[in-house]
């Protein structure tokens, strides 16, 4: 399960980074199918925060 979640997050990070939208939504939508929704939301928070920091840092 963890491997699937890692793959989904990497693909969705690519989507978010290229298009600037829909990465977190897509990740939450797919991971929400596999795990409890509340856990998916926590993982989405971790993912979204990390990615936002990276995107802002690369902009600098």
């Amino acid at each position: 399960m963890e491997v699937i979640i890692y793959i989904v997050f990497i693909l969705c990070a690519f989507i978010e980074s290229v298009f600037g939208f829909a990465g977190t939504i897509t990740a939450l939508a797919i991971i929400g199918i596999f795990v409890d929704m509340k856990i998916a939301i926590l993982l989405g928070l971790f993912f979204g925060l990390t990615l936002s920091i990276y995107i802002y840092c690369y902009q600098i």
Binding site: I10, S17, T26, A29, S52, I55, Y56
Partner: protein
């Protein structure tokens, strides 16, 4: 890339973040009270509305902008997906670099608020995230590559494909949670 630091727009940042603050707090609080099925129903509904907006390129009426920015805070507090509404409102009003850097800071702010709220309420055991300690390192690659090619890729067909996938998932959530509730 170095010039992008100047593109952070404080005015738009404040216009988005100020109306969202109450919603983020309420949404983060409510997560403890609502059932998983209700959350899935709400998320499914949100996905369907989001994809219809994306596919048909609907415009948000100006009169609704402030109201939707308040609702956006609530959606972000509850589900953490408060991106599409402010992006839809501001995507044609500022340039792409400014949009990326400004909204990155908006999401950092709203996510930090959620972490504080969850910590106060003890909603989550954050130790769970230790199982995913590799994630920040793995995300470096797509985040960097994405920036390199974000100006070179045509997003029209990709957006459509992604929207259809999200619409199917949204309908799946809606139907499953509706059956579970009834």
């Amino acid at each position: 890339m170095l010039s992008d630091i100047k593109s952070f727009d404080y005015t738009i940042y404040l216009k988005v973040i100020l109306p969202a603050i109450p919603g983020v707090i309420i949404g983060s609080y409510v997560i403890e009270l609502v059932s998983v099925h209700s959350m899935k129903l709400f998320f499914g509904l949100f996905l369907v509305v989001f994809t219809i907006y994306t596919i048909f390129k609907l415009q948000i009426p100006k009169i609704l902008e402030n109201f939707l920015l308040i609702i956006n805070g609530l959606i972000h507090g509850l589900l953490g997906v408060g991106g599409p509404i402010p992006v839809a409102i501001y995507k044609n009003k500022i340039n792409k670099s400014s949009l990326r850097s400004t909204f990155a800071v908006v999401f950092i702010t709203m996510n930090v608020m959620r972490i504080v709220q969850y910590s106060i309420q003890k909603t989550y055991n954050f130790k769970l995230l230790l199982n995913y300690w590799l994630l920040p390192f793995l995300l470096l690659v797509p985040a960097f590559l994405g920036y390199k090619i974000h100006v070179k890729i045509s997003e029209k067909n990709f957006r459509l494909g992604l929207s259809i996938i999200l619409l199917i998932i949204g309908l799946y959530f809606l139907i499953r949670s509706f059956i579970a509730i009834t």
